[in-house]
Symmetry: C2
Subunit: 452 residues, 2 copies
């Protein structure tokens, strides 16, 4: 029953010719045969559905060269509770019986793939969630041979150059303000930028939903905030920076980049997963400034433990796509992702990857002066960006004080002083604790049912 | 606790200014407050995490204009079994207690969105899977006001023009061969195209993994298959067609289109979800021929019943992106998706959507002569494409006979004759039944555990 042409259990003779994918899955069929069907589907497209038989002309030479190969599997019994309801009507009636949970390492020939993230995704994950043997399946990891990585330019700047450009010394985080309210009129928005920059932030940025709206057109906003950053720099005696959100479809994305950079933006941000990495790559190739990605839409593909494509894989593809900075949900304090996923992402952005430069993680989501130290501890990394929204712009004494509170929190952490102790002599940090760390009111969890 | 500025339970006074999103979710918090937090996050970015308090300057005018509004909710108790393990470490220790399952209709201002699928996705789904109140959440539907739809050109050809171009009479499916083996040398590949076209197919197509490989470079293949299609047309006395897969990243995608069309391709295919719809839209704007999307990567976002973005929503976005043909897993026979998802997709591609032309669904995945009628019945539509791979190219008597068997199956269905009866007088159809409908051997589901 198992087509041995699609296995290489003794190992590969030419490992440079293959990506290695790791899948975890639940199946009601023979779990080894299921993995071999996956190999066929993801390479010579010879899987077929049901008893399709053999395709004329799918000879040994074709399978040898273009066929995926099962390298290794681990299998355990998994009771009879499926991860998801059966898709097939027949199984909906009769149930599955005994189930297996398995992981498989599969080698996919890079000869199929050219240099395209879109085709790479199609090969490693395209139809896997539609294949009949799998009740559930997740692509857990992809490992690339160096020769394949050479097809990608990767980040044009990378973590090191970005930090150099922004004047960030080794061993400290960049402090970045995500200006709120996001859809504020340009004048107010630029004033909030100015206040937070003179309060001590390195950089301010647009939120992910703000690109070009009536109240805040892209060019006017970029001009106003860049001007605010220049005035702040004059005040401070050091440069400070602005990252503009240029997210758009591909008919407009490069034009937005050109407009933003021509009008003073120091970096650009794109909602990379919403655009698609195959399009984001064109932007990073084109860009004259570092490109940052927002994390929106990643969890849509990656969060479910038994389904989708892992955060680890997406992080690798984001480096292939050339992103210099990659936003990652802040670990520890206000958790928006599983700890193991965040740890994977942080590791992937820094790990060796041929000649592809490392990306810099930017932690975002609930970061404040009051948890900055805990987040740096949980992240296990100091050379990151810390993106602070409410912690600056909802500080009770305003954006300048909010920025100061964040700088003070960093000073305390750097010098090994407890932030609450440091707060005793630093009023902005103290009021951050007073305001943001109020004990939560007992919430009424019962909804009031009403016709609405 | 509930910020009433983000609700409009009595209805909207200006419905043309809003998209209406429907979410279903599971929460351990007050389910109404959770929906309001979603509104804040997806519009003015004022949600914050924990007790963030109020953002200075987020005044009534800004919220009125740019804030999302909760329109309606339905809530039921949902026991204490979470859909997924808790993300927050605190909850991992203590569990959730009582849970709610709810659906909410939320109005999101189109004033935030410009004309960008990427920004639309960011608004309606960007961070929803990271928000703290939601154990699980799925974007079920998006409804657009006509004024918003006018920002999109939609399909350049659409279902009607595509069918006219391909000479498909009203009331019959297009019969399309997905040539296998996919990575065959160009000569063999073109010969298989020729055989299946003279056997009666309307069109042949490349598989989703085949674009430009050593064995089958894009330009040589397009030339060879287009030439085969011309020779077949001479033989048949009617035109037949070829759809080339041009999937690539955006640095290469339009060039691939130009090469394919210049060398004779009649349609182009793109793995749209792997490229990203924001990039696919640039292709459809640029294309001189109809553009077809493959369904790979859609289920990755859409399959889990309680998580992600529904197939219904993706189908709507695919129309916005301008796809003329959209592959959909074939319903009924060899099910690769839940029936309700397939039904939603078929409906969305045809339903009124302002001035945006309908897309033509192409059913694929396990289609054969033996189940063609059942699939047409299950789909409830005849003006579709039927994509047949193994049913043609793994037919025991070869591709020509395979194509004939499919044509015969259509003739039987059209004339209301049982296919098995029609097979008695049509040998190609008969051998399709003999070959593809063999009773399955009893499979040994037990894996042989071995060190590997």
């Amino acid at each position: 029953m198992i087509d041995k042409r699609f296995t290489a259990l003794e190992g590969l003779t030419n490992p440079d010719d293959y990506l290695i994918c790791t899948y975890s899955y639940q199946t009601h069929q023979n779990p080894i045969r299921a993995a071999v069907e996956l190999c066929k589907s993801r390479s010579t497209s010879g899987a077929g559905w049901g008893t399709s038989g053999t395709v004329a002309g799918e000879n040994r030479a074709i399978v040898e060269r273009y066929g995926a190969k099962l390298l290794h599997y681990d299998i355990v019994e998994a009771g009879d509770l499926p991860d998801m309801p059966p898709v097939a009507p027949k199984l909906q009636r009769n149930g599955y019986g005994k189930l297996w949970r398995a992981s498989a390492r599969i080698a996919i020939p890079v000869g199929n793939l050219g240099s395209s993230i879109a085709l790479l995704l199609t090969a490693v994950a395209g139809e896997i969630h539609n294949l009949e043997p799998f009740i559930s399946i997740k692509l857990v990891d992809v490992e690339f041979p160096i020769v394949y990585l050479e097809r990608y330019a990767g980040p044009k700047f990378g973590a090191t150059d970005v930090r150099k450009r922004l004047g960030a010394e080794i061993g400290r985080p960049l402090l970045i303000g995500a200006i709120k309210p996001s859809p504020a009129p340009t004048g107010l928005f630029a004033e909030l930028a100015y206040q937070s920059l003179i309060g001590g932030l390195d950089m301010v940025k647009d939120d992910e939903l703000l690109v070009d709206i009536d109240e805040s057109p892209l060019v006017s906003r970029v001009r106003a905030v860049s001007d605010a950053a220049k005035r702040a720099a004059d005040h401070l005696g050091r440069k400070v920076y602005y990252q503009a959100n240029i997210t758009a479809d591909l008919d407009q994305l490069l034009r937005n980049h050109d407009l933003a950079v021509a009008n003073g933006a120091d970096l650009v941000m794109v909602n990379a997963m919403a655009v698609g990495l195959a399009g984001t790559r064109l932007l990073t190739q084109h860009s004259e400034v570092p490109v940052t990605s927002h994390f929106g839409m990643t969890a849509c593909n990656a969060k479910v433990p038994f389904h989708g494509v892992s955060h680890k894989v997406w992080a690798k593809l984001q480096r292939l796509a050339g992103l210099d900075n990659v936003m990652v949900p802040a670990p520890g304090a206000t958790q928006m992702e599983y700890s193991s996923d965040i740890a994977d992402e942080i590791a992937v952005h820094q790990e060796p990857m041929g000649s592809i430069r490392p990306s810099q993680p930017l932690f975002g989501g609930g970061v404040k002066a009051t948890n900055l130290g805990a987040i740096l501890d949980a992240g296990g990394i100091r050379e990151v960006g810390m993106i602070i929204g409410h912690g600056v712009y909802a500080h009770p004494a305003g954006a300048l004080a909010g920025a100061r509170s964040v700088v003070q929190a960093w000073e305390a952490y750097r010098d090994g002083i407890a932030a609450r102790h440091y707060a005793l002599s630093h009023p902005e940090l103290r009021s951050a604790f007073d305001h943001f760390e109020k004990p939560p009111q007992e919430e009424n969890r019962e909804p009031h049912h009403r016709a609405s």
